[in-house]
Amino acid sequence: MNLLGKLSWSAIPVHQPIIMGTVACIGVIILAALAWVTAKGSWLYLWREWLTSVDHKRIGVMYLVLAMLMLVRGFADGIMMRTQQAVAAGGAQGYLPPEHFDQIFSAHGTIMIFFVAMPLVIGLMNFAVPMQLGVRDVAFPTMNSISLWLTASGVLLTNVSLAIGEFAKTGWVAYPPLSELQFSPGVGVDYYLWSLQIAGIGTLLSGVNFVTTILKLRAPGMGYMRMPVFCWTALATNLLIVAAFPVLTALFAMLLLDRYLGFHFFTVNAGGNAMMYVNLFWIWGHPEVYILALPAFGIFSEVSATFSGKPLFGYRSMVGATMAICVLSYTVWLHHFFTMGASASVNAFFGITSMLIAVPTGVKIFNWLFTMYGGRVRFTVPVLWTVGFMVTFVFGGLTGVLLALPAVDWQVHNSVFLVAHFHHVIIPSVLFGCMAGYNYWFPKAFGFKLDERWGAASFWCWFIGFHLAFMPLYVVGLMGMTRRLQHYDVLSWQPWLLAAEAGAVVILAGIVCQIVQLVVSIRAREQLRDTTGDPWNGRTLEWSTASPPPAWNFAMLPHVGEIDAFWAKKQRVHARQERSVQRREYEPIEVPKNSPTGFVTAFFAVLTGFALIWHIWWMAGVGLLGAAVTLLCFMFRVEDEVEIPAEQVALFDQSHPVEISL
């Protein structure tokens, strides 16, 4: 028996200089980071305060760090594709052979959706939702840490595929029969499947956690119709996660059975049917779009209300629109395959349901507009991202409705017009939204604001770069260029693709500005310091506590009597109807105890995943056993909370005075 399964030295692509160079660079960066931590003597600090932390705020921050790192990786893939298509015209083959190019576009899609967009929105929900609800943590803090580290496991496995073996060459949707063993015998598809299975469990657990938190843990007095809109969008998103992700897990399990045990769910023969995969994939895939977009819509709602100095216009309408999107997102999946030969009635029906979802989305746009109407709009960085989103997204929505018309879809499906469309909706909504949220909540997380000028520079680079990179793709798409072409023979496409390449370079400048913004802000943190805990004149509860908030968030749980509770209280204090800070009776607070469960489970998950990819069966057994034992140890834990003495809470409160407390 071969102890290492399919793994051998030939799995390392030594003959590919681009890959080896990248791997070497990443290796050097990781070694430098490890050396730096060692030199600083921070290992213990890192382990105690971060890696084993179950504090929702720190977990949120770690999700964001993960997402930002993967954004750089995903973007690198993107700009490599743009460069390849900018040069590989006529007889030229460019610098990427199909073997490598096909992996890059598959990795780009997979990473951007699962390991950038998902951690961004889940990270921001982690950070903000419990504080907005006025509570001290999520419902299951240790499970939250497991979710984070399982997501990180998926990230790790996907990136390991760069150095050992290969990644999928099937596109990020991995349609069979192409992704079946018969046509993709390598380990690429297995890397894809196991990475996403492991990360998917993490996401599902997050969904369960947040649905429970929002439904069961809210500050006294906070009825559903008093929740901030971001919490509503988080609820809708997590309901969608709970309903949609099991479909993806089951679907991938079926494909894995096909690949590992010779089943015939989606094979060409023996009764398999690939159309079932396509159906199930998009029954997950279209709700996924709204899983990503809804929290971003929530952030835009918070930002537009806060920086206009007004309540959100049409709160109930917004809640209704959010829940309408939540339900309608399950009725549209068929528009991803109008070209698969369904009957006219089916196509027409799903064309119209797909358009219907534009109604609540349109309502949201108008409501943000009326939120700014009559306000005093402060053009901070989060507002730039928000207004930038509004004027860009409506055009992305427009091309989306075009694609919902079956007769138009037949002409532009699978073309770069489609590529332009989904970047035109996902980048303005998810990425712009999360950038707004990052700039908005950063002072809450770290106690100082981010630099405004570099933030604005980043926005403008992204905004201009986005249009330059994707508007030409609409044109080339209409000219008949299909997606995923490693080279092409039509020379008239090339000028447009060169323009798109220039756009990608401008986006690169935007990313550099973001990094510079962070560095500059950290160096100038004393000037940017916010001691009030409420730097933006906020409306919701997270601004009523200190920045950064203590592990327990609130010394006393706030009592909520209306929407925008913190704002209302500030108004009453300013009108001298109420005292700003009541005399407080401090009590000891129980907070969840840190636990290595998440980190250790994830270690074993990576081991299992890697072993299964390479058919190292004994190692898979060890990994599964290790994960099971870790979870058993957690179940039989003696104590899961630590008590913060009342004096410590009082001391913190006195040393971090907030102007007004609830």
Binding site: F313, I352, L402, A407, N414
Partner: protein, 292 residues
């Protein structure tokens, strides 16, 4: 952000004027009708979207914090009339565009025959790794990576695949349709003008995908008859053996023709999709599918 709508307009203008190929330059009734639907719905939506974007920019600019002439209404958070308006504008738009979608989906349904006095030409299409096989069952000839059709005559396609999914797409003549192993999809199109149009696979199918394009020659019916006659007189025969050689993966195959085809070839390709050929499932007779 203020550049957004000009950029889009500029781009669409450039696309409309500079484009002598692709979706915006249809050469047949199906593609022309599809372009009309594209323009109609684009027009309807731009009428809503452009004012919305302008209003957004205007409101954001006028109500900037430094503009003290703008009235501050910190309590303005609800208006029944506005709510009605904001729900009805997108709903009306969708009603309108939805009707266009409904009619288009039926009128241009790919399997629907094109009304014509001419008898349709029948073409059976199989996507192979990585080339296209076009079989003319009535003429008894076949060609690889090159499609010849008569102008002004409807062409009726039956499509399948030898293995992975592809998508048959000639943008200037009609929308695309997937090709899937073991299944038949249908597509009808017609060329109204002679010329050479670019066709391709639109659905990624693996390593040789980028070269999976072909030319469609739309020629006069007389020239088509000549082409059939000359094709019949030379080239190899497409039988089970020749098909087994052809179906082996190959890239960037130069076009060639077969002078005759074995009877039941297309049905054979189709049923091959239903028979197993991987090592995990033995016991059934091997089909005419190539082994990998």
């Amino acid at each position: 952000m203020r550049y957004s709508s000009p950029v889009l307009l500029l781009v669409s203008a450039a696309a409309l004027s500079g484009c002598s190929e692709g979706v915006l330059d249809p050469k047949g009734p199906v593609a022309a009708a599809e372009r009309l639907i594209l323009f109609d719905s684009l027009g309807i939506m731009l009428a809503i979207v452009i004012p919305t974007v302008l209003a957004t920019l205007a409101v954001a600019y006028w109500f900037r914090a430094s503009n003290r002439r703008a009235g501050y209404q910190p309590e303005f958070a609800y208006s029944g009339r506005l709510e009605l308006l904001v729900w009805s504008i997108p709903l009306m738009t969708v009603l309108l565009v939805g009707s266009v979608a409904w009619i288009g989906a039926y009128d241009l349904d790919p399997p629907k025959p094109i009304p014509s006095s001419a008898k349709p030409v029948m073409v059976q299409v199989a996507s192979l790794d990585w080339k296209w096989l076009f079989v003319y069952p009535e003429e008894g000839v076949a060609s690889v990576n090159h499609l010849t059709i008569p102008v002004g005559t409807p062409v009726s396609f039956e499509l399948t695949s030898s293995g992975v999914m592809n998508s048959f797409f000639v943008p200037q003549l009609a929308g695309q349709i997937y090709t899937m192993a073991g299944m038949v999809t249908h597509l009808n199109l017609q060329a109204d003008h002679s010329g050479t149009y670019r066709g391709m696979s639109a659905n990624f199918s693996g390593e040789g995908f980028a070269d999976m394009h072909f030319n469609v020659d739309a020629v006069t019916p007389e020239a088509f008859a000549e082409w059939v006659a000359s094709t019949r007189s030379s080239g190899p025969v497409l039988d089970a053996q020749a098909y087994a050689a052809l179906v082996k993966p190959s890239k960037a195959v130069a076009p060639f023709t077969y002078r005759s085809i074995a009877p039941g070839l297309f049905a054979g390709i189709l049923s091959a999709g239903l028979q197993p050929d991987d090592g995990l499932c033995v016991g059934y007779p091997k089909s005419m599918r190539a082994e990998r």
